[in-house]
C-alpha cells in the first residue's frame, strides 16, 4: 500500500484544494509517486467544499463556480489513487515539516498518542490555502455573526444557513460570491456592505481586460444579486452588531477614504445573521517556520515568495495557490500545474504560464483595491473584544501601546495575551498589528501549524534524540 508512512514519495502535496489537486494529478501524469495530504474528509479544499455523501446532493454544482474543473480533477485523482500513483491521505493535519534530502512531514490524525503519521518525500508542495481576515467591531462576538467564508463553508458542506436574513459585509470579492450563494439557497440578504468604492479596479484597466473570465464571474454574481433585490452599499461598513444572546441587527455607516466612519451616516438594518470578512490571509506557517522568504501583498498580507516555476526560497519546497498570494481557484490550478511540471523536470505549457501571469496580475489589482484603510479602528469602542479567544478588549490593547510603549503585535501579545489563545492569533492578528502601529507586515511565527496532542510531540522528541 502506497500510503504506508514508511513509503517515500517523489512529491508530497499538502492541501487538496484546487492548487494541490492540480499539482498532484499533473505530477502523477508525469510518472511521479505522489502523496496528497489533506485535513479534510473529501477533496476540494475550501473552494470546492461540497456536501457529505450522506446528504445525497444531486446537484452540488449549483453552489459552485467552475464545478467542471473540479469534476475533472477529482476524476483524475480517483484514477491515480486506483493505480496507486497517488497516496491520498484524508484527515491528516500536517503540523510541521523537516527539510532534508527527503523531507519529513509530521501529521496528526486523531487525539491519541499513536494517532500520528510521517510522510517522506523528495519534494514538498504547499497548497495550504488561506483563512479569512477579520477586523473587529462592537458586537462581532455575538452568535449569528459569522465569517463570510464560514457561511459559505457551512452552506456548501452542511447545506445550512446561520439565519434567514443575513447582512453580508466587509471587503473583497468573496462578499459577492457569498451573497449570491446565500440568496440562491433561500436566504434574504438585505444588503452587501463593502468598505471600498471599487474605483481601485478602474486603475487597472489593462489587467481587467486581460481577465474577461474574472469580469464575467463578477458580472454573473452581480446579475444574480440584482435579480434578488440585494442592495450593494459601497464605501460603508458594519460598525456595530446589536443583540443580547444573538444578533438582531446591525448599524451601517458610510466611510471616508481611510475607512473612518462618517458621523451622521449611521443606519440600522434588522437581520438575524451577519456574514463578514475582509479578504483572505495566506496560510503559510509550515514554510515560514523554516525561514522561507515571504512578500507583502498589496492588501498588507504576507504570502510566500516564489519564482516563475513556483519554487520557494527553500530547496525542494514549492508552493501554489493562495499561499503565494490570494487570487482564486483558477490561479491556484494554473500554479499547481506549473509547479508539478517544474518538479517533474518538464517544460510547462506556455498557455498555463500566460494564464498564471494574467490571473496573478488580477490578484494583485484586487488586493490593492481592497486594502483596508487605517481608519477602521474608528469604529472600535474600548470594550470591543479584539482577541476573541482571550477576550482582550481594544482599550487594553491601546493601553499597552499608549501607556506601556508596545510598538508591535508581539509586545502587545506579551502584555495583554491578545493572540495567545486557541486560534493563535489567526482571528485577531491583523487587527492587533494595526492597533500596535506595527510598521511592517511580517509572517507570524508558529512552530506548530495546528494543535498537536502532547503524546505525539513526545514521540517526535524521542525519535530525534
Amino acid at each position: 500500500m502506497l500510503t504506508s508512512p514508511s513509503d517515500r514519495y517523489d512529491l508530497a502535496v499538502v492541501g487538496a484544494g484546487p492548487g494541490g489537486l492540480a499539482a498532484a494529478v499533473t505530477a502523477a501524469d508525469h510518472g511521479l509517486s505522489v502523496a496528497l495530504i489533506d485535513a479534510g474528509p473529501r477533496p476540494g479544499g475550501q473552494y470546492y467544499r461540497h456536501p457529505a455523501p450522506g446528504l445525497g446532493a444531486a446537484h452540488p454544482e449549483r453552489l459552485h463556480h467552475g464545478w467542471s474543473v473540479f469534476a475533472d480533477l477529482s476524476a483524475r485523482l480517483r484514477a491515480h489513487t486506483g493505480q496507486r500513483r497517488i497516496g491520498y491521505l484524508t484527515g491528516h493535519h500536517v503540523w510541521t515539516a523537516e527539510p532534508g534530502e527527503y523531507w519529513r512531514l509530521h501529521a496528526t490524525v486523531g487525539p491519541g498518542a499513536e494517532d500520528a503519521a510521517v510522510v517522506e518525500a523528495r519534494a514538498v508542495l504547499l497548497a495550504t490555502g488561506a483563512y479569512e481576515r477579520q477586523l473587529p467591531f462592537p458586537g462581532w462576538t455575538l452568535p449569528g455573526v459569522v465569517t463570510a467564508g464560514g457561511a459559505q463553508a457551512m452552506l456548501k458542506a452542511g447545506l445550512v444557513l446561520p439565519g434567514r436574513r443575513i447582512v453580508v459585509a466587509g471587503s473583497g470579492p468573496l462578499l459577492l460570491a457569498a451573497a449570491s450563494s446565500l440568496v440562491a439557497a433561500g436566504a434574504e440578504v438585505p444588503a452587501i456592505v463593502e468598505a471600498t468604492d471599487y474605483l481601485g479596479y478602474a486603475r487597472g484597466l489593462p489587467t481587467l481586460l486581460g481577465n474577461p473570465a474574472k469580469l464575467a464571474e463578477g458580472a454573473g454574481h452581480g446579475a444574480a444579486l440584482l435579480r434578488h433585490g440585494v442592495r450593494l452599499r459601497r464605501t460603508s461598513a458594519v460598525v456595530e452588531a446589536h443583540g443580547e444572546d444573538r444578533v438582531t441587527g446591525v448599524t451601517v455607516a458610510r466611510l471616508d477614504r481611510d475607512w473612518r466612519p462618517l458621523p451622521g451616516t449611521a443606519r440600522r438594518i434588522d437581520c438575524d445573521a451577519v456574514a463578514i470578512g475582509h479578504g483572505l490571509i495566506p496560510q503559510i506557517e509550515l514554510a515560514t517556520e523554516l525561514g522561507a522568504d515571504t512578500r507583502v501583498t498589496p492588501d498588507g498580507a504576507v504570502a510566500l515568495a516564489v519564482d516563475g516555476e513556483q519554487r520557494t526560497s527553500l530547496p525542494g519546497l514549492w508552493a501554489a495557490g493562495e499561499a503565494c498570494g490570494v487570487g482564486g481557484a483558477d490561479l491556484a490550478v494554473a500554479e499547481g500545474v506549473l509547479a508539478a511540471h517544474a518538479v517533474s523536470g518538464r517544460p510547462a505549457p506556455a498557455g498555463v504560464r500566460r494564464r498564471r501571469d494574467r490571473r496573478r496580475a488580477f490578484a494583485e489589482l484586487m488586493a490593492a483595491a481592497h486594502n483596508p484603510g487605517p481608519g477602521w479602528t474608528g469604529w472600535l469602542t474600548p470594550e470591543t473584544d479584539v482577541c476573541r479567544c482571550e477576550e482582550v478588549p481594544a482599550g487594553r490593547i491601546r493601553e499597552a501601546v499608549d501607556d506601556l510603549g508596545a510598538g508591535d503585535a508581539r509586545t502587545v501579545k506579551l502584555l495583554t495575551r491578545a493572540g495567545m489563545g486557541w486560534c493563535q492569533g489567526r482571528m485577531c492578528g491583523p487587527a492587533v498589528a494595526c492597533l500596535a502601529g506595527d510598521p511592517q507586515a511580517r509572517a507570524d511565527s508558529r512552530p506548530l501549524a495546528c494543535p498537536v496532542p502532547l503524546g505525539q510531540l513526545e514521540r517526535l522528541a524521542e525519535r530525534s534524540i
Binding site: A52, G54, L55, G149, G150, L159, G229
Partner: protein, 109 residues
C-alpha cells in the same frame, strides 16, 4: 423587490435526498441530524447558534469561521471538552453539551 424563483432552502437548491435523519442529544434534548452533517451544522439546522460560554465573560459563542481555524465552536462532545464542532461529523447518539469556560471544571483548576 425580490423575485423568488429559486428554492427556499439549501437542501432544495442542490436537489438533495438525504438518508433518514438520526438523533444526537444537545444539553439533554434530542436534535435530529441529516446524515453527513457536522455537529455545528446540525445545531444550526435546529436553530441553535451558541453552544459555549466564554472563560472570562461567560458570553455565548458558536460557530464563527466554519473551517476549524477560530476555535469559537468548541463544545463538550461525549464528555470530551474543547472539540471543534465544525469539523466533527455528528454520529448517531452523540451527546453534546454546552461547554462552560475551559470545559475542565472536573479538574478543579
Amino acid at each position: 423587490m425580490s423575485i423568488r424563483r429559486t428554492p427556499r432552502t439549501p437542501v432544495e437548491l442542490v436537489g438533495a435526498e438525504p438518508g433518514p435523519a438520526h438523533t444526537i442529544e444537545f444539553d439533554g434534548r434530542p436534535v435530529p441530524v441529516l446524515p453527513g452533517r457536522t455537529i455545528a451544522a446540525a445545531l444550526w439546522a435546529d436553530g441553535v447558534l451558541a453552544w459555549r460560554t466564554t472563560r472570562v465573560g461567560g458570553r455565548p459563542r458558536g460557530a464563527f469561521c466554519g473551517i476549524g481555524v477560530c476555535f469559537d465552536c468548541l463544545a463538550t462532545v461525549n464528555g470530551r471538552p474543547n472539540q471543534r464542532t465544525c469539523l466533527i461529523p455528528a454520529r448517531p447518539g452523540d451527546t453534546v453539551t454546552t461547554q462552560e469556560g475551559h470545559g475542565r471544571a472536573d479538574l478543579a483548576v
